[in-house]
Symmetry: C2
Subunit: 354 residues, 2 copies
């Protein structure tokens, strides 16, 4: 069992059972609730029930599109109807949607219950498991209602990854790539040689990736400065994801962020001097690993509007974190709408060449 | 200007202008928003605008019945549409509903903006201005969705009380009485001689009352123990208020809490030995100052259900804070449903004698 200590809580990387059973033995919870979706109810809940046979469940519908106030009302109602009190525990068993929204609901139900995150997707294991960021989408803006609140603990067990599709694993991999691109050139040099995801031992990538995120989050828990580095690929990626979600060709989070990282690498080349050969390496790697996605039917105006509402913005300027080189990052970069549009054109031109 | 320092923030008691202008001069907010209702828009906003002419306003409908998710969605939408970012400030200008809900919305918009409380009612000045408790009502249970979050500062200016009706002032007075009953026998001895509220100099009561609340909240910021003392009168009072709100005879918060304090004083006499003469004094004082309210058409079963959902409960037992004597309190007392029903009967019997 490898552990990462973060302020008031611990991230356990390994088999979830021992740390969970120890926690339950030391705390006297009045009740334990698991928040699951139809997928984790089927594939993950039985594994959890072997540790906590009496666990009560709250099932929601999977998908980013359900990460909103309507689902929160269902979760709060269910807690209320099952007489949850402040001394009860919530276990969020699922991907980022469950972790973010279940954590938000637990933190705000009766002004706050304890909650444990058991991320079951690669994306949530490397992204959502450190940082205490909770929230839901509102008015199509991702995570625009939420708060910062530490979980009681986080249990990262890569055994759950066996329950995922290839597309979901690849989506999570995007955040691992991002961590290497902003902070670990050596890991990037290793990653860029990967050709087959199916042979990867995920523990070898998840733990180092968590250490990068820990280092950044500890320096800046409330995202006033360097934590914005983690936003690389996300300014454009979030907007693409938001619009894609409304249309007939939705994207997984990491798939959208991969597109965002290509566009923002191009912006990095224009603005902070990312060398042309590194831009080329990054773009070609993403095009090799991820499906190609035609952006031409997403209205540019809507994309720019979504970017304007990003939480990292100050005033009207759209905020980016850009790479002067692979393994390094500059935060608080701003780009004109014209240049942002050109970065999307760059992605489109790559598709035509491919 | 008298001040009370609480952890990360200061409560200023006196003219609000100087501390507000000082804060705005030291912090570089991108925008300032005032959340108001139709009453404070008319009577209080012009006073605030004399300090901040460029303030943007978000107006909601007054009343506890509007303290729910629907209004939160209006507030969040309005912040979104007016391009509020995390570096903007929200000023909650109004009573407890605005303070609790506006604070909740500000704390959760883009994961948290700064907010200042300017309570304009006596109730919110003595009750909501200390403690960082924010929230909204959900499924008819008061404050059942919310969080603990400190404001940037609190400006208590009793000048705003001139804008209130007699009924509203009397409602706020209930919390001052409560503070004296749980913690300050001397102040209670002074209060119980009051016959005419119109001649009171409120500064003389507000500041000492805030000091009592500060003492209790500092000992127990997250309501794990002694802070529950402040719940005296509220277990029954909240339930009565909740049902009254649905019917044709709504009660102001303090009016409901006054009824709750009579019933819970009777429970105090039964369970923790409040002397009969003190029970008599307390009951007669409340009956003299507050209107009499017939409880007989509120369904007992519904009242008990609402009490069962109170946040202070642990498991199924209904939790009370009771008085062994005026000026003292015992927390974590539990009562059977039968005894609770008898305490309501006691109140009804007083009305018949009066």
């Amino acid at each position: 069992m490898r552990t990462i200590q973060l302020g008031t809580y611990t991230v356990f990387v390994g088999d979830f059972k021992a740390p969970l059973e120890e926690l339950l033995a030391t705390k006297d919870y009045s009740n334990v609730f698991a928040i699951v979706d139809e997928n984790t109810a089927l594939h993950c809940l039985p594994i959890l029930q072997s540790s906590i046979p009496t666990i009560k469940t709250i099932q929601i519908q999977a998908g980013e599109i359900n990460k909103g106030l309507t689902t929160c009302q269902n979760i709060w109602s269910s807690l209320m109807n099952q007489q949850a009190d402040r001394n009860a525990l919530v276990i969020n068993l699922g991907g980022g949607v469950i972790g973010d929204m279940g954590g938000f609901c637990a933190s705000t139900f009766k002004r706050g219950m304890d909650f444990i995150q058991i991320p079951t997707t690669l994306l949530s294991q490397v992204d959502a498991s450190i940082g205490g960021k909770l929230g839901i989408d509102f008015m199509q803006v991702k995570n625009s209602v939420g708060l910062f609140k530490d979980p009681t603990s986080v249990l990262v067990d890569t055994g759950f990854l066996k329950t995922l599709s290839t597309a979901e694993v690849r989506s999570g991999f995007a955040e691992i790539i991002k961590h290497s691109l902003i902070a670990d050139r050596e890991q990037w040099n290793q990653i860029k040689t990967i050709t087959d995801l199916s042979t990867i031992q995920w523990d070898d990538y998840v733990f180092p990736s968590l250490l990068i995120k820990q280092r950044i989050v500890e320096q800046d828990p409330y995202e006033k400065g360097i934590r914005k580095a983690l936003n690389f690929g996300h300014t454009i990626g979030h907007a693409v994801e938001g619009l894609a979600l409304e249309g007939s060709r939705p994207l997984l989070h990491g798939e959208a962020i991969a597109i965002g990282m290509i566009c923002e690498s191009w912006l990095s080349h224009q603005i902070v001097g990312l060398p042309a050969n590194e831009l080329e390496e990054i773009s070609q790697f993403f095009l090799r690993v991820y499906d190609h996605y035609d952006l031409s039917d997403l209205p540019i105006e809507d994309l720019l509007n979504l970017m304007s509402n990003d939480k990292k913005n100050i005033g009207k300027a759209i905020n980016f974190s850009l790479l002067p080189a692979a393994g390094q990052v500059h935060i608080n970069q701003t780009c004109s709408p014209e240049l942002i549009i050109k970065s999307l054109d760059y992605y489109q031109s790559l598709l035509q060449l491919a």
